[in-house]
């Protein structure tokens, strides 16, 4: 059986335009505290929430997740939901335990210096055909 990420990658290659984490990092001017080597992952959408219980319930595989949380549970949620990566907003840095766990589990954590509203707006425009 194909894994969800393999399917995502093959579906994405059929399209004319695919978005990778690298594109998101460049377009949104994000820093990447951990996961620099894994920016080739395909991004299929975004999700924003600061309730981890909500992300567990409603997050979609392949999405980038925008949050204020820096706690290491965000790494577990990203793995559980097969998210493409995590963007922490407002320049908040992931906690040391979060960094350790993310690098061990190869989860990409990015940081936006902008607040959530602007970050989500820019991210959303990438998927609406805007810039």
């Amino acid at each position: 059986m194909l894994s969800a990420s393999t399917v995502r990658k093959s579906v994405a290659t059929l399209r004319d335009e695919t978005m990778t984490l690298k594109d998101v990092v460049e377009r949104l001017h994000l820093s990447v505290p951990t996961g620099q080597d894994h920016l080739d992952q395909i991004v299929t959408g975004g999700y924003a929430s600061d309730l981890l219980s909500d992300v567990i319930a409603n997050g979609k595989a392949g999405s980038v997740w925008v949050t204020m949380h820096t706690h290491d549970n965000i790494v577990a949620v990203a793995i559980l939901k097969d998210l493409a990566g995590i963007i922490i907003v407002q320049g908040r840095q992931p906690a040391p335990e979060t960094m350790l766990k993310a690098s061990k589990e190869k989860v990409v954590i990015m940081v936006s210096d902008l607040p959530a509203f602007e970050t989500i707006g820019k991210l959303s425009s990438l998927f609406d055909g805007g810039t």
């Binding site: 219980s53 567990i56 949380h69």
Partner: protein, 246 residues
């Protein structure tokens, strides 16, 4: 000899902006007594300033009052911090106040009344108590334990301000002494949904913001006498002390 004591370890006062003005130092112990509760903990949001007055009012009533606070962490997780004496809760409060920013707007959030044992208004707390402090849940639990207190995750089955709503599940490293349930969930269901592979002590408290709510959701503790030390042992299941029903 051990016997059962009914306790309500999560009672707010008029100091909490969402607490009713009737939640005064004189009225709280009187209502607890009417409800058959022998032991209460006063846990206002991020402050313990009304604890001394409630303790004085409870003297001679047979009601034991433990000093506590309901702390809101940077993740907006509510947790109860309960201590043996006033000195310890005041040390905790000093730390919380250093990490608590913002001023209250009473018209928006409600009055934060500091009262004395005569139910007189001594003043109004100016800090905005109902917001998250700049310390993480791990840091807060660690500090509570360093001060010899117990840390209880508040209303874990609620969809806001609970460790479950904010963090999705309880991290393996987080060392709560007990998990609090509201009256809206049965203990067996809570164990299935939230406990994971760990063995937790579940307790029930009213989280009363109104007098009529005191004692509406409680549990019994098997103790030798109604003291902090005994409650602490019961939460940890030490020396035969335990939580009887939850």
């Amino acid at each position: 000899m051990l016997r059962r004591f009914r306790a309500d370890l999560h009672v707010h006062t008029c100091l909490s902006p969402c607490g009713d003005l009737q939640m005064s130092p004189q009225k709280i112990p009187a209502q607890a007594r009417r409800q058959g509760v022998e032991l209460i903990a006063i846990c206002d949001h991020n402050s313990a300033k009304n604890v001394p007055a409630v303790i004085r009012c409870a003297e001679g009533t047979g009601i034991v009052v433990l000093p506590g606070m309901e702390i809101c962490t940077s993740e907006e997780i509510h947790l109860l911090a309960i201590f043996e004496n006033l000195d310890l809760v005041e040390q905790m409060q000093s730390l919380i106040y250093r990490h608590l920013e913002g001023r209250n707007n009473p018209e928006v959030f409600g009055l934060q009344v500091i009262a004395n044992e005569l139910d007189e208004v001594m003043g109004y707390e100016e800090k905005l108590l109902s917001r998250g402090i700049n310390l993480t849940v791990d840091q807060v639990v660690d500090k509570i334990h360093r001060l010899g207190g117990v840390a209880v995750a508040s209303h874990i089955d609620r969809e806001s301000y609970s460790v479950i709503s904010q963090l999705g599940f309880i991290p393996d490293t987080l060392r709560f002494d007990a998990l609090e349930l509201t009256r809206h969930i049965r203990t067996e269901e809570a164990r299935k949904r939230f406990a994971g592979s760990r063995t937790w002590t579940f307790i029930r408290n009213s989280d009363a913001h109104y007098l009529d709510d005191i004692g509406i959701n409680t549990c019994e503790y098997l103790l030798e006498c109604p003291t902090y030390a005994e409650i602490s042992k019961a939460l940890k299941g030490e020396d035969g002390r335990m939580v009887c029903e939850a």
